[in-house]
């Protein structure tokens, strides 16, 4: 068995213990100091896109639930300065001083079901946590409605412009058909005149396009105007932000984080110091070390008289020390 590593370990045991003695208490103190008594307020929102809106207007991926889609949207909005500042501004105006960073920090948004979306905020103050959640939800609702209405208006303008063009196209096709019938009255009754049939098909196609655009225009008009209440229902606050009565419990895992990290750091430091000592110690400590000097034999070892640590001996050495000191003083 290699004895030198053991000897170096024993020889420098106090040095190797220093990282543990220093770092571990600091880590525990840090864990205690950072154990915040946070209050958590949460609000549950029911997100169900209005069924009368075209698919293009239902936000998000079709592979995610509406709640997941809206959680992504809200998280992305929270990441923007505009949204966070708007919430902070509204909070400040209502008597709760806040910053964009303060709004972001401690806020969690997650889907809690197919339609259920949860907004949670942790703060040192229960009232503040509640206010921040309320602020975020209000801003989110306002943004959603504004965005949806704006999109609908834009679409309505687009469809209105298209409808005008398509109406002209339809009228042109109708006029062309009427002129052809006037010139060829028998073509309408025979039903076999290819020119008549082509003009009639053009009229039908123009009519269909016109009808479709008109239908789209009707839908977006509904969503932008008369169905505001319905839109509000699509982002419905089921559970308003509550006023927490007690702080949330700090998880054991979080409490143990600093001590465990401190322990790992101390172990790493001690291991590094030990490796360094092992690497740099080229002194002769045991007979094995003399193997580096070929042909040299160990005649014997003389124990260190000053370092005897056997039970019962310290008393003798204490006496020796005292008497030796006395003798030296007498000289």
């Amino acid at each position: 068995m290699a004895t030198k590593p053991l000897i170096i370990l024993a020889r420098h045991k106090y040095l190797l213990l220093i990282p543990f003695i220093v770092i571990l208490p600091l880590a525990v103190l840090l864990a205690i100091a950072t154990r915040n008594q946070d209050y958590a307020s949460r609000s549950t929102i029911w997100v169900q896109p209005p069924i009368f809106l075209p698919d293009a207007q239902s936000q998000g991926s079709q592979y995610l639930t509406p709640a997941q889609n809206q959680a992504n949207v809200l998280n992305e909005e929270l990441a923007t300065d505009a949204f966070a500042k708007a919430v902070a501004k509204a909070l400040t105006a209502s008597g709760v001083p806040a910053t964009a960073l303060g709004v972001r920090r401690g806020t969690t948004v997650f889907a809690n079901g197919y339609y259920s979306l949860v907004v949670e905020h942790k703060s040192a103050s229960a009232a503040r946590a509640q206010a921040v959640v309320q602020g975020i939800v209000s801003q989110y609702q306002a943004d959603y409605l504004a965005n949806t209405t704006q999109q609908a208006k834009t679409a309505a303008n687009f469809y209105t412009a298209q409808l005008t063009t398509q109406q002209q196209t339809l009228q042109t096709a109708r006029d062309a058909l009427a002129a052809y019938v006037r010139q060829n009255p028998s073509s309408a009754t025979s039903g076999t005149d290819p020119q008549y049939l082509a003009l009639q098909g053009a009229v039908q196609q123009a009519q269909n396009t016109y009808n479709a655009t008109q239908s789209n225009l009707y839908q977006v008009t509904l969503s932008s105007g008369s169905t505001l209440e319905a839109l509000q229902q699509s982002i419905r606050v089921v559970d308003p932000a509550n006023l927490p009565k007690a702080p949330v419990k700090v998880s054991l895992r979080k409490q143990a984080l600093f001590p465990v990290a401190g322990l790992l750091l101390a172990v790493s430091l001690s291991a590094a110091v030990y490796a360094f000592l092992l690497r740099t110690d080229n002194s002769i400590r045991v007979a094995e070390d003399l193997q580096a000097l070929p042909g040299l034999i160990l005649l014997g070892t003389v124990p260190d008289v000053s370092a005897v640590k056997k039970r019962g001996w310290p008393k003798h050495f204490f006496r020796l020390a005292v008497t030796a000191l006395g003798v030296s003083l007498q000289r």
Partner: protein, 254 residues
């Protein structure tokens, strides 16, 4: 405490006390406290082993000399020299002379609590009789020739013909001569002194002497046969229960 660490208890036995037989003489308190400690029984046995290995018992009746040196200062060569001398006197039952040759740092007189009556440097630099310089110690059969007055430049004295003649004279008078030589790496005259001995014992202090220093010291010693190394100041580092757990002997790793 420093005083305690610096003393060499096996060098301060007094009259009426037989080294190796009675470790608790009713003499000075320092000696009593020191000698009654069990560690000195261990030390005594270790020195007996070392003396048996570095001295040729078969040559009883013929004079032999061993130089004890180290790579640097403070590694315990003087302590080991005294220990070997005491053990040799006990083992072989013959007169043993300790020749202190470190003229820069003489201290054996103090260790043996003897009065200065001249020493090696005095003999080599004047007409003082060598018999005057050699003193008996309190260890039976152990005699001391101290280094004498400290000399700033001992080179010419060490290299003088008178020193070689003295060695021959001492060999005639003493069957065993233990030369307490200066450190090989720090004293330029150590190699010359070591050459006067038949063999060399190198002292290394556990945890202090580097392997490379020991190798350099051996190179500096030249062609003097090296008997081996005495590892001084070893410690039992592991608690007994740890040693048992690991299946190693505590004393194997001291």
């Amino acid at each position: 405490m420093a005083t305690m660490l610096n003393i060499r208890p096996w060098a301060v036995a007094r009259e009426g006390y037989e080294w190796g037989v009675n470790w608790s003489p009713a003499v000075g308190a320092v000696e009593e406290a020191a000698m009654t400690a069990p560690i000195f029984g261990v030390v005594e046995e270790r020195f007996k082993q070392i003396a048996a290995r570095c001295l040729d018992a078969a040559r009883a009746g013929a004079s032999q000399s061993v130089a004890v040196s180290s790579a640097a200062v403070g590694e315990g060569k003087s302590s080991v020299a005294i220990g070997i001398a005491a053990a040799a006197a006990r083992n072989l039952g013959t007169d043993v002379l300790i020749l202190e040759t470190d003229m820069l740092r003489p201290r054996l007189l103090e260790d043996f609590r003897l009065e200065g009556r001249g020493g090696l440097s005095d003999y080599l630099s004047s007409d003082i009789a060598i018999e005057t310089c050699i003193q008996p110690t309190r260890i039976p059969n152990v005699w001391l020739l101290p280094s004498g007055r400290p000399t700033a430049n001992p080179g010419p004295l060490i290299r003088s013909r008178r020193f070689q003649e003295l060695m021959a004279t001492l060999h005639e008078g003493y069957q065993t001569i233990i030369i307490d030589a200066p450190p090989l790496l720090t004293s330029p005259h150590a190699a010359v002194i070591v050459k006067q001995a038949e063999s060399l014992v190198l002292v290394a202090r556990a945890g202090q002497t580097h392997i490379q220093d020991a190798a350099n010291a051996l190179k500096a010693a030249g062609e003097v046969p090296v008997r081996g190394v005495v590892l001084n100041g070893t410690r039992v580092w592991l608690p007994g229960w740890v040693a048992r757990l690991l299946g190693v002997s505590r004393f194997a790793i001291e």
